[in-house]
């Protein structure tokens, strides 16, 4: 260094270093610039995408579940809005937050006011206050302090209005509208309509396997076509469950701008960030039109009102359409579908499942019962068909009969009876003798031709197949010791024989319509939300029973005599204006008090099941009606009057319908759905 212009005190020691230090600083900053180049230019698009995804959240737009209507178009199940209140802990109670720095003076403590407005009782209030404080132990960006918690479900509209009016004064409160399934007829037909419930973990895992997060969009669509998510409602029983895929609809989505604390942002600044498409509209679920007629269903309910438990089925014998399906005791699907909050659901379930009368069981199809004497026509047909018994031949009934060392009893001494009288007066002895001649396998074969002992395929609730025992069944069950008593019991619908009321109704329908066993039908049509028919279901014949018309006519005569002959078992309770044919049944339950039930329960459980299976009108049948009163006692005195009452109501209801349909034909004013009904009404007589 030759520059001596500036005097220095021995800075020469440092001189060589300056350049190195400058170079080092330059390299350091160059490294930063290089890194910035990498981040902003090479990976800029990627980070820009991440930043975009950070603030855009796809929010599901709920769809509306389809409406279930009865045959006349009355709503059986629909959705109503329910309002839930959520609060963001950190915002309703700023004082609960630990760090003072992020808090400003103008944030009001709105919690106590919210609690007042919601009319929380002191218990709930202290519980929720504690929860809010717990949530705000930290107030970092992702702490539960910023996650809304549910405070109350299904608020009344007054409170909702009050909250909305003061929305600006109580920050941190959200009112969320959520559709809740609503069943206007409450218990009526609850079993067949069913209810909806929050999807449980097992079902959900079927749709969303454990590797869900790793699946591609197509795989997700394939595994979960209906898009179930935790917390979704799903049909749990009845039509709601079976027709879930039609009713559910497809939820849409909407892009929302959200900040790091999960708060939604709006305004032009936020909308700028939304890219198209920003919304996909939800597809509403399909509506269903059932074959059920609410008026008739109500009539059935009224008729069965005096009894604690039972079931009734009314089916159109010309189409297999179910006009009324009723199981007792019932439950209120509104309670189970969450309309009154989660606590109510739990409470209802506990009550329903501990009830010995099994209200959750659909007795029309899930419960199998010994049919008792209502089974006799099928035994008679088996004998006639194979020409093993001469129907005119009389057998003597002394009130009892010995087979081997065992006595088999009749209700009383019938004297000499032929087949016609035996059915009309329900003589067991005649059928014992008949059974001896026919054998259990022939009876079973004929019964299965009428669909007994098999699932009907309705598929609405888990169906019990019932049981028509055969020799081989007994062989399996009793290790080869077949006894004649088994055959005798089968012939009169006792012993191991069980049927469901639905099976019996369809079988009686087949007796009435000349041997055609229909597939039962509960949903008549699928419609769009504006009423256009998407899919119409014509009646389906399941099988034809191989019985000759003469034999069938003979049994029909006998069934007519049951009600209309002076000696017929149902004669005392007949309605002279109604031409009903049917068969009473009093089925022993075989209850033995082995588990030490209390006497009252034991008395109830040991009582016979009362049956009445019938069709109407006897000469040109339209409907088959089966009534079962569980542990009701005698069929003729208990079940038969109920069936008569139902038939009386059916006839009363049928008349105004006919005129209404005629009126609609002239007017052409009613919607497409009305036309659909009309069309099917016209179609009926031709079948």
């Amino acid at each position: 260094m030759t520059n001596l212009l500036v005097p220095r005190s021995d800075v020469s020691e440092f001189r060589k270093r300056y350049r190195w230090l400058a170079l080092f600083a330059f390299v350091g900053f160059a490294a930063v610039v290089l890194r910035l180049f990498h981040l902003q230019i090479i990976q800029g698009a990627k980070y820009s995408q991440i930043a975009h995804e950070n603030v855009i959240r796809r929010v599901a737009v709920p769809t509306t579940r389809g409406i279930i209507r009865d045959a006349q178009g009355r709503i059986l199940a629909s959705s109503r809005p329910s309002f839930n209140v959520l609060v963001v802990p950190g915002r309703v109670m700023p004082s609960a937050r630990p760090s003072r720095s992020s808090r400003s003076a103008d944030e009001p403590e709105s919690w106590s006011r919210v609690a007042d407005t919601l009319r929380l009782n002191p218990d709930e209030r202290t519980r929720l206050t504690a929860r809010i404080r717990d949530a705000c132990v930290t107030d970092e960006d992702r702490s539960p302090c910023w996650r809304p918690i549910l405070v109350r479900e299904d608020l009344s509209r007054d409170i909702v209005a009050e909250l909305k009016q003061h929305a600006t004064e109580v920050p941190g409160v959200e009112v969320v509208s959520q559709p809740v399934r609503y069943y206007p007829y409450k218990e009526l037909g609850a079993h067949v309509i069913g209810y909806t419930a929050e999807i449980d973990a097992d079902t959900l895992s079927k749709f969303r396997p454990t590797n869900w997060e790793t699946l591609s969009a197509e795989e997700r669509q394939q595994s979960n076509p209906l898009g179930y998510e935790p917390g979704d409602m799903i049909g749990a029983t009845g039509v709601e469950r079976t027709w879930e895929s039609y009713l559910r609809g497809q939820r849409g989505w909407e892009k929302r701008v959200v900040d790091a604390r999960g708060r939604y942002r709006s305004g032009p600044e936020a909308e700028r960030l939304l890219d198209a498409p920003s919304r996909q509209e939800p597809l509403p679920g399909r509506d269903l039109r059932l074959t059920i007629d609410v008026d008739l269903e109500q009539a059935v309910e009224r008729a069965l009102r005096p009894y604690t438990a039972g079931a009734a089925v009314v089916v159109d014998v010309r189409s297999g359409r179910l006009l009324a399906v009723y199981s007792k005791p019932e439950f209120d699907p509104n309670d189970l579908s969450g309309g009154s909050g989660r606590d109510r659901i739990r409470e209802s379930f506990n009550k329903l499942y501990s009830d010995p009368l099994r209200p959750m069981l659909d007795k029309t199809m899930s419960g199998a019962f010994a049919p008792g004497s209502t089974f006799k026509p099928f035994s008679a047909l088996a004998a006639l068909q194979d020409k093993l018994v001469n129907p005119a031949e009389r057998e003597r009934c002394d009130g009892y009969l010995y087979f081997g060392r065992r006595a088999f009893h009749c209700t009383h001494v019938h004297g000499k009876v032929n087949m016609h009288d035996a059915i009309a007066q329900s003589c067991n002895i005649y059928f014992f003798k008949l059974a001896e001649a026919v054998g259990v396998d022939r009876i079973a074969r004929l019964a299965s031709e009428f669909g007994l002992g098999q699932k009907t395929g309705l598929g609405v609730n888990p169906e019990s197949p019932g049981r028509i025992p055969t020799r081989s069944w007994y062989a399996l069950r009793y290790k080869g010791q077949f006894r004649i008593g088994f055959t005798l019991n089968t012939a009169i619908g006792q012993g191991a024989t069980t049927v469901t009321p639905l099976q019996l109704a369809l079988a009686y329908g087949a007796i009435a319509n000349g041997g055609t066993v229909y597939s039962p039908q509960i949903v008549r049509a699928v419609e769009t939300s504006d009423g256009a028919v998407v899919q119409d279901f014509p009646p389906r014949v399941r099988q034809k029973a191989q019985v000759s018309p003469e034999n069938l006519a003979r049994v029909n005569d006998a069934l007519y005599a049951v009600v209309n002959d002076e000696k017929g078992t149902a004669f005392p309770v007949r309605d002279a204006t109604l031409e009903v044919a049917g068969k009473t049944g009093t089925a022993q339950t075989g209850y033995v008090n082995t588990s030490g039930d209390e006497p009252k329960k034991a008395w109830y459980m040991s009582r016979d099941h009362a049956w009445f299976a019938s069709y109407f009108p006897a000469k040109s049948p339209e409907i088959a009606v089966v009534v079962l009163v569980e542990h009701g006692g005698s069929g003729p005195t208990i079940a038969a009057p109920i069936a008569m009452q139902i038939i009386r109501d059916y006839r009363r209801l049928a008349q105004p319908h006919a005129t209404k349909a005629a009126g609609a034909k002239d007017g052409h004013q009613s919607g497409p759905s009305a036309t659909a009904i009309k069309a099917s009404h016209q179609e009926r007589p031709r079948e």
Partner: protein, 385 residues
């Protein structure tokens, strides 16, 4: 130093020696810093709304103090070097007695409603003390480690005190400033190698006994950034996303989504650069980094032209202060260094930090303005112009 001749023309006119380049660079950084703080805090209306105004107050206060510091001939500081250093140490000790706790560490002394961070000022006081030591020890031959023992002690005392607060960021800065100044001297190669080995041994010991869990966690996250996106990696991740999303030209003033939607952590203290990067993009960042680079290189230049060792070390020290702060902060925010709480000079909000940097600028100005003064002690009689 070719351009010294130009300055030679102005020899003897100290008032005209005002260093406009230094002044303008510092002012530009301060102005951009305030504007960026406005953008950074615009979202947190309630809590942070007045931070940028406070920053202006601090800058004004810092500017006045810097002017005062620049006015007094730096040789007075040389004279008082150890006294000032002693005051700094006393204040650091006082922190443990009077300190108030913020997020688990006590760094602040409160006087009335006014609180300040002695560790910030300690950086300058340490530089002055080291400068004085090297000034008084005008060795020209190579130094061994033994010769560096006293300056090392001068640096170690405040560094350890600050590490104890604990404030890793500031301690690291002190250590690096000392290292820079030490490298300025002629150290024997053998000594350097010994030192490197010693550091190699000390690091595992530091890791085990000195670092706190949260500090270890940060370093681990730095080594594997995706390991903990929701925990400690959260800050680093979102800062990086903000920078990357800025792209070439940025999203525009106050339009950076990462900050507007609260994803940028500590957006006014440790991460304002992330906000700046998303608002202004690569071009904006380039200008900003260029300003810092210029400031640091200018400080080296001032050192090179300083007329005595004290001034040279002072300028290098302040340059190192700015460099290491900027480098650590930018490195941390861009993800090439672990997250250590180091502020970005003139960009991060905070009174003590701003005032310290301004005082540093004042010292630089001081040295720069007086580079042609003839030291009476070493007068050469060249003022014949």
């Amino acid at each position: 130093m070719r351009n010294l001749r130009d300055h030679a023309r102005l020899f003897g006119l100290p008032r005209d020696q005002f260093d406009w380049a230094l002044f303008l660079t510092a002012s530009a950084l301060a102005v951009i810093g305030v504007i960026n703080l406005y953008s950074a805090t615009s979202v947190s209306r309630a809590a942070l709304s007045d931070i940028y105004i406070q920053q202006v107050y601090w800058l004004v206060l810092g500017g006045i103090l810097a002017a005062v510091v620049a006015m007094i001939d730096y040789r007075h500081y040389e004279r008082l070097g150890y006294v000032l250093y002693g005051i700094g140490i006393v204040l650091l000790v006082l922190v443990f007695i009077l300190g108030k706790d913020i997020r688990g560490s006590s760094r602040w002394i409160q006087i009335g409603s006014f609180s300040f961070q002695p560790s910030e000022f300690m950086k300058l006081l340490m530089i002055i003390a080291l400068a004085k030591y090297l000034h008084d020890d005008p060795k020209t031959d190579s130094r061994s480690l033994k010769d560096l023992l006293i300056p090392a002690a001068l640096a170690a005392i405040p560094t350890l005190l600050i590490l104890k607060q604990p404030d890793l960021g500031t301690a690291v800065i002190l250590a690096f400033i000392f290292a820079t100044i030490a490298l300025l001297t002629k150290i024997r190669w053998k000594s350097l190698v010994t030192l490197a080995v010693a550091v190699g041994i000390a690091m595992p010991l530091l890791w085990t006994y000195v670092f706190h869990d949260y500090q270890k966690q940060r370093i681990l996250v730095f080594l594997n950034p995706e390991s903990n996106l929701l925990g400690s990696g959260w800050h680093a991740h979102h800062a990086r996303v903000a920078i990357g999303a800025g792209g070439v030209s940025g999203e525009g003033f106050m339009r950076g989504t990462q900050n507007q939607f609260l994803f940028v952590p500590d957006q006014h203290s440790d991460f304002p650069f992330a906000v700046f990067a998303q608002d202004w993009g690569f071009l904006g960042c380039l200008i900003l980094v260029a300003l810092y680079t210029f400031l640091v290189l200018w400080a080296v230049r001032i050192a090179a032209t300083a007329k005595d060792r004290f001034g040279a070390v002072l300028a290098i020290g302040v340059g190192a202060l700015v460099f290491w702060h900027a480098f650590f902060n930018l490195g941390m925010v861009t993800g090439i260094l672990p997250v250590v709480g180091v502020t970005l000079p003139l960009f991060s909000a905070g009174g003590s930090s701003v005032v310290t940097i301004m005082l540093g600028i004042g010292l630089l100005m001081n040295v720069s303005m007086r580079r042609f003064y003839v030291s009476p002690a070493h007068g050469t009689g060249l003022s014949t112009n």
